[in-house]
Symmetry: D3
Subunit: 73 residues, 6 copies
Amino acid sequence: MPYVNIKVTQEGGLNGVGPSAEEKAQLIAGVTDLLSRVLHKNPATTFVVIDEVPLENWGMDARQVSTIRAEQS
Amino acid sequence: MPYVNIKVTQEGGLNGVGPSAEEKAQLIAGVTDLLSRVLHKNPATTFVVIDEVPLENWGMDARQVSTIRAEQS
Amino acid sequence: MPYVNIKVTQEGGLNGVGPSAEEKAQLIAGVTDLLSRVLHKNPATTFVVIDEVPLENWGMDARQVSTIRAEQS
Amino acid sequence: MPYVNIKVTQEGGLNGVGPSAEEKAQLIAGVTDLLSRVLHKNPATTFVVIDEVPLENWGMDARQVSTIRAEQS
Amino acid sequence: MPYVNIKVTQEGGLNGVGPSAEEKAQLIAGVTDLLSRVLHKNPATTFVVIDEVPLENWGMDARQVSTIRAEQS
Amino acid sequence: MPYVNIKVTQEGGLNGVGPSAEEKAQLIAGVTDLLSRVLHKNPATTFVVIDEVPLENWGMDARQVSTIRAEQS
């Protein structure tokens, strides 16, 4: 009965949104399969929750990702 | 000083939204009362945070809940 | 398919340990029942995870709970 | 490589929104600096994620913060 | 810069302990690879934290996993 | 009423343990002060929880930190 929480920045999709529904489906299928293969966990009771975090709310290297992205572009 | 985080799928309410304000009030009162009764925790310093997760972002049985719900309907 | 995380300080039990197995069973049964009553969630897919946090690792009012407890005793 | 999650109620900003981009930048810089000073953690691999929680979804003292704020005003 | 938290029950290993170091290495490599393939995330800034939860502290179906396991054996 | 969770690897202290009680006290005081200064949050209802994660359970760059540290030494 694993519980997995995946946090990613809300970017990469069209129009500045986060991952597509199809990409999220791949993450959920992939991590459930991984837990089944490595630890023999039952997929029926494996939960995966994806959080998409606004760039302004994620910090790395003491700065917001929104600032890092603006410098990169 | 307990901290409780309740994660539910964003569904069940009118127009496809999540739990109503009244239902969330009941969850908060109920879990605070539970911690007071079982562990004698002080309600004044019991925090409860409710997260409503989009169906597309919650996986179970290797699939998105949005897919599971579409199959059920 | 709710996921609930309950964090409490590791105290209150015998010999400075946290809640007893029986108390944890009551928390799990109580919160699962609450979600079933208020939001009609299925107990079979309701997960509850209890974290017991050492007093030294929990802060409130800018101080460790271990310090607060020492002042209270 | 610390990971810090800061949860605050979504209030205090203009028009009922949460902290400003500038305030979030200060939180990120401040907590990264704190971990660098106290534990010598590398800022380049220090992550900070800020969650802004709707007042209706945060409970304290067995009530929603939205209710507490209405009583205070 | 994703952050992934994997929570599993502390079981399955020798002598009642949790996953082995080798199994944890496989989970970390696998989920990092998944995020790289699906979302093109940089492995260097992908964090994975594994929490092993005592059976007594994990509830499902309104009961502790320790109770469920005792019934199964 | 902020809630802050700080996760660090369990290292840096004497004999392979994590941060000292004094260092944890500094983290708690520092982050509470930061939230008071930037967002005018009340220290009395600011919670800080520190999690110390075994090196074997923390992954970065697709490897366990225990492996990274062994390569560095």
